[in-house]
């Protein structure tokens, strides 16, 4: 087993790389061919010029952003409390937060439609606003595994017990501690989870379609049936969007231990002692 020229390894890597890249190049090239005989961005112009595109993407953006906020408001205090006060509940909380990986979205939304239907004690699906709420809640649930892991990792990196004691001895209430000490300290982790949530829910199809919401996912599918070049343009943009989300997620996920918490830990504490 001497060191030899890694020919097989190079070939494998090249083969895999071409499997990954060829569809992207092909799709990009395809998306440029909308006008016969020339290459140009006509398909992209057509996408951005469409009112339906703008409506659905803004609807989905707002829904995703609200889902991120609700998710953070539920997950951060829970992860904090579990670490600090009720560690024996950790396996249960962890298990529940992983459940959405086992329950497929189509099953989840089926349950929603049945449980919150017209004859239910909480008939959310009968009004447009109620269905919007249900969609956002569905996105919160779908993103729970990622959000919990991101936030929990973030909390592992800071000394929440000491921070809490410090805040308490300075007279902060529980809520104040969570809002002004814990939240800012795991901000990078939350943002990291948020970008993943965003990339999952922006183009989400199953929930939006079955709840009959004017979201981006159903619009995409409809466009795929009606048009040829615009879907290719949207696929390229979606890939770029996913890439940006993942890059930002990585950036924020790896940011805290080195740069963030040392200055953060001392600064607010110093400010607190002055009054």
């Amino acid at each position: 087993m001497k060191k030899r020229f890694p020919l097989v390894a190079i070939l494998t890597a090249l083969f895999a790389a071409s499997f990954f890249i060829v569809p992207l190049i092909a799709t990009f090239y395809f998306s440029l061919k909308m006008v016969r005989g020339e290459l140009g961005f006509a398909a992209y112009a057509s996408v951005f010029g469409s009112a339906a595109f703008l409506q659905t993407i803004s609807y989905s953006t707002v829904a995703s952003l609200i889902a991120i906020v609700i998710g953070a408001v539920i997950i951060v205090p829970t992860a904090y409390w579990v670490r600090l006060k009720v560690p024996h509940l950790r396996p249960v909380v962890e298990f529940i937060s992983l459940l959405p990986l086992i329950v497929p979205p189509v099953v989840l939304v089926f349950g929603y439609i049945r449980l919150f239907g017209s004859s239910s004690w909480l008939p959310l699906t009968t009004t447009a606003t109620g269905t919007d709420i249900l969609l956002v809640i569905g996105y919160v649930v779908l993103s729970m595994p990622y959000m919990f892991r991101a936030v929990d990792n973030g909390m592992a990196a800071i000394d929440i017990a000491t921070l809490t004691e410090a805040a308490e001895s300075l007279g902060a209430s529980r809520l104040r501690t969570i809002a002004l000490v814990i939240f800012p300290n795991v901000r990078a982790a939350i943002i990291s989870g948020a970008f993943l949530t965003f990339s999952i829910s922006l183009g989400e199809f199953v929930l939006a379609s079955l709840l009959n919401r004017p979201a981006f996912g159903p619009y995409l599918v409809q466009l795929g049936q009606d048009r040829a070049y615009e879907p290719a343009a949207l696929a390229i943009m979606a890939f770029g969007f996913t890439w940006a989300c993942m890059a930002l997620m990585q950036l924020f996920a790896t940011r805290k231990p080195g740069q963030r918490w040392l200055p953060r830990l001392t600064k607010p504490a110093a400010q607190r002692t002055t009054p």
């Binding site: 087993m1 890694p6 390894a9 190079i10 494998t12 890597a13 895999a16 790389a17 499997f19 990954f20 060829v22 569809p23 092909a26 799709t27 395809f30 998306s31 539920i74 205090p77 829970t78 409390w81 006060k85 009720v86 024996h88 249960v92 529940i96 459940l99 959405p100 086992i102 329950v103 497929p104 979205p105 189509v106 099953v107 989840l108 349950g111 929603y112 439609i113 049945r114 449980l115 919160v140 649930v141 729970m144 993943l196 183009g203 989400e204 199809f205 199953v206 379609s209 079955l210 996912g217 995409l220 599918v221 795929g224 049936q225 879907p231 290719a232 890939f239 996913t242 890439w243 989300c245």
Partner: protein, 303 residues
């Protein structure tokens, strides 16, 4: 169900003889109530509702009829199609991901190659759904760029030679685009865990490269590979948007059948829909649980 269990365990845990802070400790479980309430209302409750409904008839009486009806020919065909598709795409993803991991991580390539693949895999494993289907249609569809190039430049007519993107094999090829990177990402720690000493020891004892892999590398990796395979299987099994955008509503994988059922009640029996949902959750649950067990088992080599 879980809510009660956790709440009662908190209750029994609290009144231990910590007298001075007893009153304080009593209320600690309250802090996680919002989470449990949310999970119970919007995750556990809806699923339980379906599970209970799977054992009821339209009048609400207990019955096994829905479960038994999963044995009817078109249900069996649907489950069989989904399972075969998931097995094929998981096998393709697992083998390709393992080969790629072996080449990039252990094959003596410069580190930037690994970094590039890791970054790309993070993106590609999340690039599923409708846009992925679009990308493959633009690449390998009837008028896709690669199809046309092969025909015009090399005289190879893919579709005449039996290839079809809109087929069983075509779908699994599309799935490979997110399965392969996922496998690469989750097998990487295990490949890193293969200790240099084992390889050196095998080398000193005169083992060849293939002997090393047969007798040491693969046996150590086997639980991880199996676990990852199951995760990929579950990943493919639950996929709906990608296959729907690619094949439309006529391709009878279980998620699409359930999707159609919810949309238009095509089964004429909502309780059969519940049974279908139960079947999906059971299959996903079993494969994910086995994955976790196998991962625990594999971790002992990494200590």
């Amino acid at each position: 169900m879980t809510l009660d269990a956790s709440a009662s365990s908190a209750d029994t845990g609290a009144p231990r003889p910590r007298l001075a802070f007893g009153r304080h400790l009593d209320w600690n479980w309250l802090g996680v109530v919002p989470f449990f309430l949310f999970a119970f209302l919007f995750l556990i409750g809806p699923v339980l509702y379906l599970v209970v409904g799977a054992f009821q008839n339209a009048q609400g009486q207990f019955t096994f009829a829905n479960i038994l009806e999963l044995g009817s020919p078109n249900m069996v065909a649907s489950f069989s199609l989904t399972i075969r598709l998931s097995l094929l795409s998981a096998a393709m993803g697992a083998i390709a991901g393992l080969l790629l991991g072996q080449a990039v991580i252990l094959g003596g390539l410069p580190p930037w190659v690994r970094n590039a693949f890791t970054t790309f895999s993070g993106v590609a494993s999340n690039f599923a759904g409708v846009p992925l289907a679009f990308a493959f249609i633009a690449t390998l569809g009837r008028l896709g760029l690669v199809t046309v190039l092969l025909r015009d430049l090399f005289g190879i007519n893919l579709y005449a030679s039996g290839f079809n993107l809109f087929s069983f094999f075509g779908v699994s090829l599309v799935y490979l685009y997110f399965q392969l990177p996922l496998m690469f990402l989750i097998i990487a720690p295990a490949l890193d865990g293969l200790k240099q000493e084992w390889r050196e020891a095998a080398e000193i004892l005169g083992a060849s490269r293939s002997q090393y892999w047969q007798m040491i590398g693969l046996p150590v990796l086997l639980p991880t590979i199996l676990g990852c395979f199951l995760l990929l299987f579950a990943n493919a099994f639950g996929t709906l948007a990608t296959v729907y955008a690619l094949m439309g509503s006529g391709f009878d994988v279980v998620p699409i059948v359930l999707f159609q059922q919810i949309r238009g009640n095509v089964l004429y029996n909502p309780n059969l829909g519940y049974a279908l949902a139960l079947g999906m959750v059971v299959i996903m649950g079993v494969s994910n649980t086995l994955y976790l067990i196998l991962r625990k088992r594999a971790e002992r080599w990494q200590k």
